[in-house]
Symmetry: C2
Subunit: 213 residues, 2 copies
DNA sequence: CCCTCGCTAGTCAAACTTGACTACTTCATC
DNA sequence: GATGAAGTAGTCAAGTTTGACTAGCGAGGG
């Protein structure tokens, strides 16, 4: 599973109705192009694919209000809504060291109710610990560690990353228990989209250090 | 950049001459199928592609010595050798939160000389810190943090992950400075391949918890 | 008045990835 | 000596991702 479906589905859902370029801009505002494959081609492809599969409904093209070619608008269907929550829940609980999916899920976390979000995050920790136990037991067999030579450093890296992830998740749980953020059913929702005239902090130019594109 | 090229190129290089199935087995021994896209189709595709590009030389098919259909054997070329080291060095220094590339690079770390490996890892830390400074300054603009609402948690996750990565890298540097492992030019190299008759600890069956495949 | 620049909106071919499938051999068992 | 399980080696179509490309419109300068 890649993050693109969750991102696109969630972005369309937040707007009620959106065209590709709008989704592209939302995701850029999130910084998603930095940590996921949210590139133009992938976004438009995902929209078309999900339309074929009945998760989105395409309204025929409308002329652009802001210059440029006409655009196709999409709306989420009931099946799309279901799929969105399925993907979100799955992404929150599963530990598979793919940071992009996890990041996407955090972005939509507040679409759930607080109690469910907390439950899923606790389940996530349980699974990370289970995973950790399985690998450490599995990969350090007879002969003790060091048996694998430097290859053991790869496993070391995984375990270190898993521990760090669990720690971060615990921190988030604490913040949520302390009442941070506004969840579904708790009044006005915070929506991470660009307001009219607001400047996009991730505008073009200025690449980050470490960027190898 | 995905990890598959580095993995396949490095695996062929360690053998001097290898066929696809052998590469596939090596990578399975490394556990690479757990943390990268090292699946049969991708491996065979990468072999063919790199042969086209002159990084590998394909010897025509040889009948199998162990049952099954005949196989194509590959050997690394001079240009392939260059490319291998280019990919390895690049993977070691760049921070792009793609764990698969980093893991692959760690697996081939000992192909370098110890001094260079240490230099690259120190450069890696420098870049992570640079990246961290850039994002924290860039993503917490006027109005202080909390401006972004729960979206700020995504950035929090990145920074947490970056810090954890830097800590792991420092640990590895310490171990290498203390003389751990055997590097190029230091006598017999440890090669992470299956010895005849040895059992593969990652044999089929038993999926890990959290695995969603 | 016209020309270029940058933004809007999206398309496309080429490359890569996935997962299921083929076909052949050996080995143990009945 | 037939059968079936397991291992060997690889192919293929369908789906996804990438990066470069197209094309319309408005604003501002000369």
């Amino acid at each position: 599973m890649s993050a693109i479906r969750l991102l696109v589905l969630g972005a369309v859902r937040q707007h009620g109705r959106a065209h590709g370029y709008q989704v592209r801009n939302d995701l850029e505002y999130w910084g998603a192009h930095e940590w996921s494959n949210a590139k133009p081609g992938s976004i438009y492809h995902a929209l078309k694919q999900m339309e074929k599969q009945g998760l989105l409904h395409a309204h025929e093209i409308a002329p652009s209000t802001a210059g440029g070619p006409p655009r196709t608008e999409y709306e989420i269907t009931d099946r799309g809504e279901e799929e969105f929550f399925r993907l979100l829940r799955e992404s929150l609980v599963s530990y598979d060291q793919k940071m992009d999916i996890q990041s996407a899920a955090v972005g939509f976390l507040v679409e759930l109710e607080r109690a469910e979000a907390l439950a899923l995050l606790r389940e996530r920790i349980r699974r990370i610990e289970e995973w950790r136990a399985a690998v450490t037991e599995h990969y350090v067999p007879e002969g003790g560690p060091g048996q694998l030579g430097h290859i053991g450093e790869i496993m070391n890296l995984w375990v270190h990353t898993a521990d760090s992830d669990a720690a971060w998740t615990r921190g988030l749980i604490d913040r949520l228990e302390a009442g941070a953020y506004t969840f579904a059913g708790e009044g006005e929702r915070f929506v991470g989209v660009l307001a009219e005239g607001q400047e996009n902090p991730y505008a073009t130019g200025e690449r980050h250090a470490g960027d190898d594109r």
